[in-house]
Assembly symmetry: D2
Homo-oligomer: 465 residues x 4
């Protein structure tokens, strides 16, 4: 349900390719498939004749590249980025890839994730005279590398990552290599593929499908890949406990992606089936909140024997520019974005399957909308436990106090106005993913795999880029 104001938000998507003519065009297509991971800014850096050229800007890919000039972006290697700011302010200079002129040569960076000790590292670097160009935590990696005396960009990167704590999927492009790094717990996803014999990298496998590439494997937690004239070399510091982000399965990733070995569509359908068993209800029709919850609603319908219908129609042309911050406008935005099919819900008892409840405002509006369209009962079924703790690893959530789920079921029920409400327990969720024991579930449990400054009770929200 989350593309509205109510859901948690993933920050970014990355894509990279080494050694294929038309690299920028391939990267453009790959990023198109990752656009759901960020719509605030987009950019591509391409390598040609030892020079890096970057085209980036605010808005959707199709907007940034609307006057696409192939002359400017010729080259055989490229990295690209789509971004969703987790802070309120969105600033043009934060658009990625970031490019730096180091004495060793130019360096481009594209980053998905969050560095939790960013503020501390930045303060230390500034005390040493560093001048920061952006407000991103990504830039810290460049400054750490600029100070390195290491003989290669890859060693400099490994040295830098030794100081960095957080969740990240990083792509770096230099005149000599494409580097890729995934954080030690594997919180943020990153995969290696192959296209016409050349290596490609992407946040999700749907980007490989879009360019006609095949998935090779997930980049391992803690792994650093160096891709260059000598092929693909693996390094880095592995061995930490895996902690794959649960929300990639529940909501973030595209259903046609396979993430860390599991089909996202299959996981979501299984969540719906388990939810039907865990929280059955007498009703006439099952409706999913578009678009992320449709597979779960199909699973719920299948396991419950109730018919599934497309009861809410999404307007796929809704521009982002019109959405404005006030509450009144946000409610209006929901009505522009979603419309119930009267014929489907009028006079019926509706099971509404959704993936998460954060502030609760969207759920409240959907319930009201279904009732106005004639639903006699609305039963809200959520494919995740209550979302109670903020994420520090690359997802935007409000400060803890705002999270409606911190209240009990009764309180939330009153807030959203449904006839009943049920969550899927965490163990069920974990088992549905097939990764039980290897997941980051901090947003549900408060158990953070990477320590956050000041503890989880009174946290310090560092360097929010």
């Amino acid at each position: 349900m989350a593309p509205l104001e109510d859901g948690p938000r993933e920050k970014c998507g990355v894509f990279g390719i080494w050694g294929l003519p038309g690299a920028a065009a391939v990267t453009y297509r790959g990023l198109t498939a990752l656009q759901h991971r960020g719509q605030e800014s987009a950019g591509i850096t391409v390598l040609r004749d030892g020079r890096l050229s970057t085209l980036k800007g605010m808005g959707l890919l199709s907007h940034v590249f609307s006057s696409w000039n192939p002359e400017e972006l010729l080259g055989e290697s490229a990295i690209g980025h789509v971004r969703y700011s987790t802070t309120g302010r969105s600033e043009p200079q934060n658009a990625q890839p970031l490019v730096f002129r180091l004495p060793a040569g130019p360096l481009a960076l594209a980053h998905n994730g969050n560095i939790v000790n960013a503020a501390r590292l930045r303060r230390r670097l500034e005390d040493q005279g560093a001048i920061f160009q952006t407000g991103t935590d990504t830039e810290i990696v460049a400054h750490l590398m600029a100070r390195s005396k290491a003989p290669s960009a890859r060693v400099a990167l490994e040295e830098a990552l030794a100081e960095v704590q957080g969740a990240y999927a990083l792509l770096l492009l230099t005149p000599h290599a494409l580097l890729a790094a995934r954080d030690p717990h594997g919180i943020r996803p990153l995969q290696l593929g192959v296209l016409e014999g050349r290596p490609v990298l992407a946040s999700e496998s749907c980007a490989f499908d879009a360019v006609g590439a095949q998935t090779v494997r997930d980049v391992a937690p803690g792994e650093v890949l160096e891709i260059g004239a000598g092929g693909v070399t693996s390094g880095g510091a592995r061995g930490a406990r895996e902690a794959f982000c649960l929300f990639e399965y529940i909501y973030f990733a595209r259903p046609d992606s396979v993430v860390d070995g599991r089909s996202v569509y299959a996981v979501r359908k299984e969540l719906g089936r388990r939810l039907a068993k865990a929280a059955p209800v007498e009703a006439d029709v099952v409706v999913g909140a578009p678009e992320a919850s449709i597979p779960a609603a199909l699973g719920y319908a299948e396991a419950s024997g109730l018919p599934f219908e497309l009861g809410l129609i999404k307007n796929r042309y809704l521009g982002r520019t019109f959405i404005q911050p006030s509450q009144a406008l946000r409610e209006e935005a929901v009505r522009l974005k979603l419309n119930p099919v009267r014929d489907v819900v009028a006079g019926r008892r509706v099971v509404l399957v959704d993936d998460s409840i954060v502030r609760g405002t969207t759920a409240m509006q959907l319930v009201r909308m279904l009732r106005e369209a004639g639903a006699t009962e609305v039963h809200l079924r959520v494919t995740a436990p209550p979302y109670r703790h903020p994420c520090f690893y690359g997802i935007d959530t409000s400060v803890a106090e705002e999270l409606v789920a911190r209240g009990g079921v009764e309180e939330v029920l009153r807030a959203v106005g449904a006839d009943s409400l049920a969550y899927l327990p965490l163990e069920e969720v974990a088992e549905a993913t097939g990764h039980a024991g290897r997941l980051c579930d901090a947003c549900f449990t408060g158990r953070y795999p990477i320590p956050v400054a000041g503890g989880t009770g009174k946290f310090e929200l560092e360097a929010q880029p």
Copy 2:
């Protein structure tokens, strides 16, 4: 399936409101819900203190109004338009509403449809010295009105429409009135609604839902409405045979709309049910071509007892700018736009439900895509008869020779590479709409309700704006 290159394309959507402060903002929201009817240009004309102000441009509404300046568009009455050119060339000066300075005062027009005797009327007017500003047939109405000596804009409009032959839903705004007109056969849809006691008009009811208005009734075929200080007055020349456009139900209209009294969603589901009975097949799963064919696929699944799955995922961020005219790029565009869910189709016999086959290229690519994802069989089921005759009433289709469906079933089957192919017979389609005998089915039968110059065999394609 049609937003790709392969489907027939509807030209426009219109919205209007009279007498409510914030009319432009309401119109913007209404047009947002009609954006599926045209993405090439958008515009709004607003009336304030006897003056008309227009903001329009190329691209999506959200793009045209990205630097929305409320100061410029204050007013209590407005009309708006979204446009999809049916000609290859898209020219900025053709963006609507068109505005003319007549001696009697300014006049704004927004038009959905096609005037079939446009070339002849234009030639006659030019012989009389008229200078045309645009290539649209809409401008003919303004020139006819400019020559009228009628005492009011409404009478001038009725005089003008007496000379015009074609399919249209027209909105006109003057300093004194909002006029609405629907063609004598009712080919193009147009509805009257009410918002806070004030009249609103729209091509489809989903636009009323988006602004919180209630539907009052469809504008009758041949009716002319005058809305002004004296309320709503009905006139015009009624009595011709109704001929509602079948394609509005099959593909164009949004499923959450009610058009001429029928729920589009319900009609599509019924089409699917009838298709399952008319053309059953032994298979494992039913998949609909997103997004228009999902309801029909649900109907097919329901009637056949086979499970429905969301087997094709659509990328809703695909920009239009990247799509380019060559065949290679069009194929690539399909891969960017749609991606199969391997987990759903691998190792299975798939029923693919689609709404129409025009050139056949998209169907061919979907079939190939499903096979590559592991489908063992693909059975194509189409919710309409073969599409064999060009539309002259506001839908863009290729010249007759290009229509693949003009070939027999075997020929089409070979072209698209499916294991089997079946169409839904016209009588079944007509009955599913509940309007049998009151439909325009010219594209299937060649029986044109309005005579086209030169007959249907060797037609003259006049003034295609």
Copy 3:
């Protein structure tokens, strides 16, 4: 002195060429030399393969063509236009060349001047059903031609001009010919030249110098030229009394131009010499108001024996965007535009030579500025008589009441604060031009060569485009 707010303003400059590859580039260069005649909008229409392409926009030529695309403007014939609106409002749709789609083919028009019976003609045309696209009087010519049944554009133009009263230099481009027309009195200038054997046309000879062309002759008053495959053919209705605009010599034209046979520089210097004899004064230095009055100041110095100095320096980078309409800002604008050289004027008695006084505000500021820089006396000498009557032939002046010169010398002297003030008598001005008896001096005498509706006392300002 006039580019500030205080002077009369000429409306436009035109340039045309027939039959030379690179016609658009030649026209661009020619218009560059005519930019002093209009800085509000600029445009070029070029003919290629029977089609007219137009590139035009608001602002200086260099701005409009900043992203010059030679591909779009290839062709061997072209006309161009620079425009200075005489009305307060400047509207993009009024930028010229205006292009019309007539049944006989496309037509482009570029016009310098003013049609005095424009309002009446427009009203008549609108009564016949004509719809006007712009607020320009130029469009009337197109509508009159559109109604003609004449066999050629040239005959249609002559028919149209028979109905038109006013001052004009007109260029028209069709797929078959370049037409040029000058009003019967020759009020507005227009010249014929030759470049590499092909005919060129321009408002002033400095445009021929800029492109390397040679002047052939002035287009005769009332003459219509048709330039096409058959060479240059002369027609039109000649014989009216010549009435060349005096202000072209006094202020409008560039000093390096020759207009109707007289060097503008030589005329201005002679004006200064005659002024020195007619209105001598004891002083130390002669200063001219930049830039138009520098030659006159040199003439004054020569005849008086006083030294000439460049006492006022003009900032040639002053953008137009910053100038805003309030009085305070206009005064500030003068200070940004002109600065006295203290070293030249401090402790000296200054003769300030200017070309005209309209509202008097600029003169007042120059006098104050010179005093602040230390001038002990400032004697204002004007190379024209008092400017007392509005111009209806293409020059923008305020309504008669605003013209400070309507007051007597004493009143003006008080207003501008000079120590003395003298004008050059009309006979002297006329003799200096060498065209005595063949001039339009209506702005000084109120004797209008073309009758203006309602007479000159209570005039009706028609259709001021």
Copy 4:
């Protein structure tokens, strides 16, 4: 003569003000008067409520601020900059003021001049891990300050300047102070003024005239001014030999400016007078190359008794966008920019006074142009000695080999095609300025006041921003 391609080019102009509401508007007006010092980019940084806001971009001030939004630039202190790149490439990121986020707070810099040890300092800073954002030498000052542990920005600036060698006029703005610094030799000009009791700073006094400020004094060579809550404090390291740039007097500065105590107009007229005595010639008329050489031509006419005429008219609307790099286009550009007045030169022997000859191409074209207009003889008189050595202190000149003046008089005479040629000897030039012994004449003598790496014979052109 220099705004064409042939002259040396000054890099920049700066303006600053502290403590007056509307500071950005004042700075805009001040920069307008300095626009002749740089037309490539422009920008203003304004201080409000402890925050710095910057608006800058490529092109003229009027272009950069064409959509001036006063809301964005409110504040009581500001610095501004206009820039002319001395390198071939002009890059948007080099537009000034440059703004840096230092740990101590934000810092804005505006710089006119050139740091001769820039490459060495940059290499050292990069070895320490510094990442540079721009290609300007100005950024070095910020990096040196970022490394300082000094208690105030002023002390940090003085520490930084102790390492810097070169010619500079620097303005810095922090939330607490406006800092100004002039290089130890005073090569680049910088002046202090007062406007409504508040301190202002500018490269030339004409900027003070434009805003209505009064000149207080020149900033002394080596002086650092700190302007803040405590008023104006003077510091810095003075005592080096003064070496004012001769070219400011000969060509760069505006004639209405007073620079280091001398009226530029008076100096130029004196140069003309001395030239007439040093190199007399029998002739009929004296013409100056617009615009810089007009005062010198007046001086030549005065001392020689020959009449002065405005024989060359400059097109002040010539856009920069049209000028393109090829030789043919450059010649064409001269013809667009300047046009002789035939009436003045035809049949006459002309003395053409110019300020300098660098590549000689412009002089050659002027001579040819005058001959084509009928001049019987053309005698070139130059108000400076041959220009033989490159400038490293902020002026753009070609590498030494290209300087035509390195050849002897005969060689140059042949190149430009004049009938005679004479230069004004250096001693005469120096005496005309009134600063003999306190000038930088390196471009004429090769005696560089600041040592340049590698000596003057085989120089290293460092960090040319």
